[in-house]
Symmetry: C2
Subunit: 216 residues, 2 copies
């Protein structure tokens, strides 16, 4: 078979797979994880049951594949907003804001039963570690630049961030989630300054945030 | 029967009940919730099985009673440290420090299975609401006094606090938990000052935290 035909086949497979994932996630959110059947998924996705079974052995496998795709997309989104922003201070802010909104949206989609099922997925643990690493690196860079506090290790500050932002799912609005991010960021900027001998000597060093909007 | 005898009986009953609760919690933490039996509890507590069944119908009932006692004691501890401190700023700090340490200790005692069992207890929800209320009230009082930020509602700040402090259980040491509380408190103190017309006019108004240890 020529290469073009292979590519067409591959694109078709991806499209079918995506349709299966989307349909299953919708059905699970609507009806509950346990009540979704392979027949319902095939019907709703507009494919035959035999075709469905060529892609996935059962509903659980589909949900895990769907979740895997979600996690990958979310991490890519966070990396993208980070790379579009300038300097660790702004970068951390956009990453935390994006994460708070993703958390709120995920809460809406999942429903409690689906969330409980998915949180047993070890990919969640790995994704959290990746996100923790992304935040920790920005905090370390920011502490060097004098943008973030340097009296607490970046690793601990990343743990603080991620836990504080779990509150986003409990808040009633996107605006409240935005205020949560602002409050969480304040915790990262305050504190004792970096010891003199660790301060960067380049012109890039900033004087922290106090100069900006403090009226004291 | 004379009153004194009734009191003796009552004291004896409380002592037996406490012994049952302590023994059961220890056994559950050691062996797992599901493997603890009423016979083991009776033996370990040094009472007969018939006596044990006069107090509690099953292991689950004992664990819930134990948890109820723990929650009551912890809330009382938090109220006590609050009442011994002076002013909303100091009061919130001691409450959050005490809560972080209780969270760490509880994690140690419970084990995952016991924690999962107990978190279905609706008393946990009510206790969290009480704690949320305690923190919210201190934040409101502190915002009035100019100690805490006034640009975000005390209710939202309380949600932030409690979620940020769940990180305490994930941190490796008591010292790290203390730093977490410090960082969390910074988030509450920073921010735009209260509008002029809402500021208290008494001599108790403080000028925020920046004057203290900021080197900027």
């Amino acid at each position: 078979m020529p290469k073009l035909w292979n590519e067409t086949i591959e694109a078709h497979r991806r499209a079918v797979r995506d349709a299966i994932l989307n349909t299953t996630a919708e059905l699970a959110a609507e009806r509950g994880v346990r009540s979704v059947t392979m027949s319902q998924i095939a019907e709703q996705a507009g494919i035959g049951r035999a075709t469905l079974y060529k892609y996935f052995p059962d509903v659980e496998a589909i949900l895990l594949a769907w979740h895997d795709r979600q996690i990958t997309e979310h991490l890519a989104q966070l990396a993208e907003v980070r790379d579009q922003a300038d300097g660790p201070g702004e970068q951390l802010e956009v990453v935390l804001r994006a994460f708070a909104h993703i958390s709120r949206q995920s809460r809406g989609h999942h429903g409690t039963e689906l969330a409980a099922f998915l949180h047993r997925d070890e990919r969640v643990v790995r994704a959290q570690e990746q996100l923790h690493g992304m935040i920790r690196d920005l905090l370390a860079e920011g502490a060097q630049a004098g943008v973030f506090r340097a009296d607490v290790a970046p690793d601990e500050l990343a743990t603080y961030c991620l836990h504080a932002l779990t509150a986003a799912a409990a808040l009633p609005s996107e605006a409240a989630a935005d205020r949560l991010v602002t409050v969480t960021l304040s915790g990262l900027r305050d504190g004792h300054p970096m010891p003199e001998d660790q301060k960067p000597t380049s012109g890039h060093a900033r004087h922290g945030h106090h100069s900006g909007h403090s009226a004291h």
